[in-house]
Symmetry: none
Subunit: 233 residues, 2 copies
DNA sequence: GATAACATGACACAAATATGACAGCGATAT
DNA sequence: ATATCGCTGTCATATTTGTGTCATGTTATC
């Protein structure tokens, strides 16, 4: 089981430290940010599994950051728990409205935080990544981290696996090499875009059994697409 | 995917250089301007995909330039990110009010800048071109970058695809070859206007199923038109 | 039927993508 | 430590596909 990465955003050092200790004790990787700008950059760079946002922060508030995250497809699916001071009662409503997954009024115990975090991860984990996806004879099982065609196991490198998983969860749509780098490699890696070509090739090669490589389609001048429909007529 | 072009406007050479290096590293084309006049001219000439405007500049300020851009239809759609010094807290409001797409308080890291730029480009890129367009049995799906007639996939080269997309979004109106070159090929290319004829021909050929080629109509002495109504009455 | 505007097919060149090889790197085993 | 192995990103090269121009054939208009 890979460790989950949690991004913790709060402007007060003391709170950041306390919570990060608690989270690390619960076996999470913790990233810290003290303002919305930093947080946003980290989210794009590291694609954490969950973000804890303080409601009130100098500059851009947590709520604003939340809205921004939800507006962008790349970050929209990252679950968010808002941390708010008790006074701000109605913040709950606007927070959940804006797409927060949970809401935790201060003061709260580290123990409570951990259980909420785990609950949210369980919930979204179930929805998104956990169920096997199958296309034709191709099967990708996220739980077992396995891929097979007609029952025959397929060997993929980590990158090819993520690439395939990305394609399977984003079918019938073209993605530019840049987008693919963002989604599969994570934001802000400066790689040659041609690198994508090479991994596409490796993926195709790996799944080239009974024509399954034809699902991975080249769209000249635009990028690549995973599609069940054949390329031409 | 064509490279995006970013216009960077700041009066300080050091900042211009630093940011332009970062942007180029992220594979953008970068145009630089040191004042609002220059910037305005460049925007009209080169139609960048996005503009980064420094808030405070000698002479016309970034905010003024922003307002001017939003007032002119030709430039209104170009997304703008404002760069502001930390002190100017409320500038945020007026900036977003005036139509800026994002707002980035100094100091910021190049990385943060890149991720904002990408986020904005993703967001605006999505708005316009997203919805599938259908005419008769003809279907163009921008997301999948696909064209089909009665469900049968049609194979188009990149240029023919753009040409068709242009026609579908600008129906029932004649465009001269020069205009078509501008819109489909982009502003500053010098090509023989007859080239348009050839691509019209290729497009017609590609969609000549069940008479769909008749939508692309020749208007003698004027140019071409995409129309659902038949040519001669 | 003369003339200008457009259509068409062919072609050389350009651009985009596919492919194979390789060196660096980190993890694991020895 | 050191050797080994699998994975990655980059490069050079091959291959495929798209592009603009031209020469020539067709059509509309007067």
């Amino acid at each position: 089981m890979p460790k989950h990465t949690i991004l913790l955003v709060d402007d007060e050092v003391a709170i950041r430290d306390m919570l990060s200790v608690a989270l690390e004790a619960a076996d999470f990787n913790v990233l810290k940010a003290e303002n919305a700008q930093q947080a946003h950059a980290m989210i794009i760079d590291h694609q954490p599994d969950l973000a804890l946002l303080d409601w009130m922060m100098p500059g851009t508030t947590g709520l604003e950051l939340l809205r921004r995250l939800k507006r962008d497809e790349l970050t929209a699916k990252i679950p968010v728990i808002m941390l708010t001071a008790k006074a701000e009662e109605d913040s709950k409503i606007s927070g959940l409205d804006a797409g927060a997954d949970d809401y935790l009024p201060k003061p709260f115990s580290p123990r409570e935080l951990i259980s909420r975090v785990k609950a949210v991860l369980r919930r979204v984990g179930r929805e998104d990544l956990q169920e096997p996806i199958t296309v034709g004879e191709l099967l990708l099982d996220p739980l077992g981290h396995r891929v097979s065609i007609s029952g025959q196991p397929i060997n993929l490198g980590p990158t090819e696996y993520r690439l395939l998983q990305f394609f399977l969860t984003h079918q019938e749509r073209v993605y530019s090499r840049g987008q693919i780098l963002d989604y599969v490699w994570g934001g802000n890696v400066y790689l040659d875009e041609r690198t994508v070509d090479v991994h596409i090739r490796r993926l195709r090669k790996a799944i080239s059994v009974a024509g399954h490589e034809n699902y991975v389609q080249t769209v000249r001048g635009a990028g690549y697409r995973f599609s069940v429909q054949l390329q031409n007529g």
